[in-house]
Amino acid sequence: MVKRMVMKPLSWIERALFIDFIKGLSVTIRHAFSKTITTHYPYEKLTPPKRFRGFFGHKVVDGNEPQPAFDEWVERFNIQVEYGKSRCVVCLLCKRACPVPQLFEIEGKKLDNGKRVVSVFNMNLMLCTFCGFCVDACPVDCLFQSDIHETASYTRRDSILDLETLEKIGRDWQIRREHEPDRIWIDDDHRNKLWYENDLKLPEPKVRGRHEW
């Protein structure tokens, strides 16, 4: 159903008494004397929601990999799985999904025991649009987007994430936020800080297995 909004034109008496001005002024004066809703940014920082599309990271092998997909890909590519190292299986699906594929620079290497492992994984974020297609494409839940959003850097070199940085971000993420329920706001307090008008309690999420959200 379309709700039709028809604005009646102001009558002459309303125009002469500046009713529309007064309505607008009353709104602004009410806002002027109510509390500010901002965050004092460099001193206070909001934690972005878990789904935030920030810097990229590589989750590391910690026993929580999506099964059976991870084992299948490991078997197919004969990957050396090492605890605490990147889950990457060098399938290049992220590069296939990327709208600017040249920003990925991915290489694997063969170890002496015949197994393979990722050796180079560079992402040039100067070219990245943070669309998250690569994250969707990743079959082993390795590549992901973290909540790190302060991405300014002094040199172009600093905007290229190499494998070490990606793993560091991933480990940090897995310690900090991996177990959070996946919803837009961290909790009701956080939600009410920005949207206090909408003072309703969200239902407590039932914590289930990690990949069943």
């Binding site: 001005f21 002024l25 709104v27 004066i29 806002h31 002027a32 500010t36 901002t38 004092h40």
Partner: protein, 349 residues
Amino acid sequence: MESLWVDIAVAIVKILVILGVALGVGAYLTWVERKVAAHIQRRPGPMVVGWHGLLQPIADGLKLITKEDLFPRYGNRFLYNLALVLALVPATLVFAVIPFGPEFEVFGYKVKPILTDVNVGILLVFGLGSLAVYAIALAGWASNSKYPLIGSMRKAGIIISYEVAITFAVMGPLILAGTLSTYKIVQNQIDQGLWYVWVQPIAFVVYMFSLLAETGRVPFDIQEAEAELVTGFTVEYGGMKFGLFPLVEWYIEVLTLSAIGVVLFLGGWSPLNIPFVGFVDPLFFLGPLSPYVWFLLKVTALFLFILWLHWTLPRYRIDQITEIAWKVMLPLALINIVITSLIAPFVWE
């Protein structure tokens, strides 16, 4: 001979005080404006430099002064710099005829807290106000760039339209006061026991509209129109030269025109007025300082009201602005003159 030297000394002291106060306050009004605007938008505004950002104007000034002075390649350097002078000088000159309080005596000399009590003070104010159009037209022309030119043409159109309306609007209080001297207008309001806003509400509304239009405040900020024209005629100015235009237009001119509005309609330094009752002074405990505080309070209130309007209203289109000037405000002002001349004999008693 001796009294001449004293007069000169008094005038110099007055000039220094007025210039210092006007320019210092003008700079700090940027902070006030930013705070008011921020709180209307539910932000705290400048908070970092000094307590609640109190040193922010100084930081901004330092930044603007140390910036590189850029000049458009095919501009006219003489007119470009002349526009600055033409903007600043007439705007500050208006302070010369603003009476801040009643006459008082120091060491046997009678001192009026007004730089020059010219007997055509109001005429001077609006003459100087019309000069602003030259500054803006020259700034746009000398920049040799299209946005400044469009902005300055718009502003020139607005000022010319509203000069007519504002002149006819102030005719009402002038008829009631029977004089053009700003000091005597206030004195007459006190003698007649009446703020002219009570008998001249139409003129006051027209005056407020014209004030907003002449200073380029919001419903009429079409010459700036940051969405269309970047910042209008200041586009090609940089550093402190850029800072000077908003300072003059948004702060000094608003301040002078609100002060003139207070003088004409709100009884200058007189305390609160209730029609048919007379003056009531809730600030009587301040003694001889009370008139100055009243004047300051009224100007501050009017200035804050203008800020409040600025951060509330959207912008009119250029054709709507000129239409309001010629089709609404000018007839209203003329009707007001007729009404005024009918009621004037009663007010004079």
